[in-house]
Symmetry: C2
Subunit: 348 residues, 2 copies
């Protein structure tokens, strides 16, 4: 039996009990409210975990890139949504190829993007389902509400494309007025809507307050992290991911240095801090070098010595997985499973 | 012939002419000042590039982890410095194993760390060379000057360890007084010093102002990045790394979204910005999602359309390489070489 003591540091540990509880809780919520649940694999990039999410009741997966979708299609996942503008002839050709054997839905927010999808679908003589993305408060991608009908009509007119509905992120209750307006305009134009796909871990448990949403795609909830805990989206006891780290230097009484820097934890921060040390809750990871975590221990009564192992709840779990070749599923002291991060580093 | 147009985005491109110029310039500087140059592989993690650095005259390499050193030792590099506290019996055992067949030097800043190295050396019946790290203005690792002699004596007393000298980072001229003090104390204690190993891309071309330094280990200079250019450590024309990215959304006249987010560029920032777009110098990459770069185009006269390809000089090149499975060596339009990032993701 391999135990956590056999692992060197830094290692990414997944508490399997917590992960399974997170999966069950989200699915229960969706079941209770008649919502379809779609697992966003960006957080783990591991087919085994997506399989557990499907086994619990998820209708399918979401992947952020064609390359990720290809990995998961090869692993047997057939209902794949890519909530992303796939732009450029090579990528749309690969998307069309993927759609030959799988139920693939993609999003778009611009006529040029829709045209690219249409050309790839026609060239491959297949039909591609397209969601139109509606701009939300986060002001990232997404078309403004006054362009939604035009985009839906452009899609619907094309014999190789199917207008599948709307994509929104995140689906906080504040989105509801603009979402209702978009749906009313589509209705007035006589355009049917199959799906309103929402998402975001922070918004997930509020999805029932936006009854127009028919499915949510969520990633982070499966592990949670310091950000979701600090923002009240999850409890600290729901944080399934920790990084086992070693104190490698104690240059001053107040300063400890961990063997986990930005190449291990990422440089994401929450209020300028880079994680939460389970054993030293008052410690502050105030800076990261590439391979060093700089910790201020001044508020801690007890302090570690060189060689001590600690566990860090990272700020943002999705970017941590992406930095590691494998992560470890742990139950108690036992390392139950070693997971290669299958779709990691697939930037295309 | 493969050209840059055959690559999808995001792709990490290395301008080989610029890289070769960077390598030559640094080596010329070191040669002119009688300094040994040691190539820190953390920036590229690619044996071929380290080979080019050695061919130019580098005396050896520096690796930040035992796992990285193992990859490079297998690739034929035998003079390896690990400027890091290697802590824990498994890692020190691997270090000792590595030292059997290679000239390995490691650093330490604490008696516990020295003891661990001694035990591993004894168990493997080999000798390990140890540099003592002196604390500098960046206040990361490193022992205070008053502990240097004690650590050097602890090392020297051990029949399996050899005190090799001092490690300092970075070697800005401001370090000189404390470095001189440490050397004077060692001299007074009758302890010989083989090497004073300095480093840091920002400090590199000032190393001759600290004549106590005998070698410098530098990584970033090989590619450079927006940070080194902004801080005046290199010219924009010395930036060998760009990320080819595609504009995937133009939701408003002022906003463009790139297909390169924190999983491509890392979340490192310089003054809150996440990179420099070569084609649009006035553009501001003001935020990154995992797979989206959020760009403010308001200061730009010309603005891109959906599908346009641009090139981003990243903020911090070392953490970008670490996110990618392979990077592309380019001369003009030609992709001359595809390099797997061999030592990437080796967190141990």
């Amino acid at each position: 039996m391999m135990t956590v003591h056999d692992l060197e540091t830094p290692s990414v540990l997944i508490d399997l009990d917590r992960m399974e509880r997170n999966i069950a809780r989200m699915q229960d919520y969706c079941n209770a409210h008649g919502l379809a649940f779609r697992a966003h694999i960006k957080t783990h990039k591991i087919p085994d975990i997506a399989r557990a999410q499907l086994d619990a009741g998820a209708v399918g997966i979401a992947c952020q890139k064609v390359s990720e979708a290809e990995v998961f299609a090869r692993a047997g996942f057939n209902n794949i949504q890519i909530p992303y503008n796939i732009v450029g002839p090579k990528k749309t050709a690969r998307l069309a190829d993927l759609a030959l054997y799988n139920k693939v839905t993609v999003s778009a927010d611009h006529p040029i993007t829709v045209r690219g999808l249409a050309e790839a679908a026609r060239a491959n003589d297949i039909n591609i389902s397209v969601l139109v993305e509606l701009m939300t408060e986060i002001e990232r991608t997404g078309a403004p509400v006054e362009e939604i009908v035009n985009l839906a009509q452009q899609i619907d007119r094309d014999e190789y494309l199917h207008f599948a509905g709307l994509l929104v992120y995140p689906t906080n209750p504040s989105i509801r007025p603009v979402l209702q307006e978009a749906l009313a305009q589509l209705n007035a134009a006589g355009i049917g809507v199959d799906v309103v796909s929402g998402g975001g871990t922070g918004a997930a448990f509020h999805a029932h307050e936006v009854p127009e949403v028919t499915e949510i795609r969520v990633g982070t909830y499966v592990f949670n992290d310091w950000r979701t805990a600090r923002r009240g989206w999850a409890a600290y006891e729901d944080c399934a991911m920790t990084i086992a780290a070693t104190v490698v230097s104690r240059p001053t009484p107040d300063r400890a240095i961990l063997d986990s820097g930005s190449k291990t934890l990422s440089n994401d921060h929450e209020n300028g801090l880079h994680g939460y040390i389970v054993e030293y809750p008052e410690a502050r990871i105030y800076q990261l070098s590439e391979e060093h975590g700089h910790v201020d221990m001044s508020a801690c009564e007890n302090r570690p010595t060189v060689g001590e192992r600690v566990h860090v709840i990272p700020v943002h779990t999705c970017v941590v997985t992406n930095l590691h070749n494998e992560i470890y599923g742990v139950r108690g002291e036992e390392v139950e499973v070693v997971w290669p991060v299958a779709a990691r580093g697939l930037v295309w």
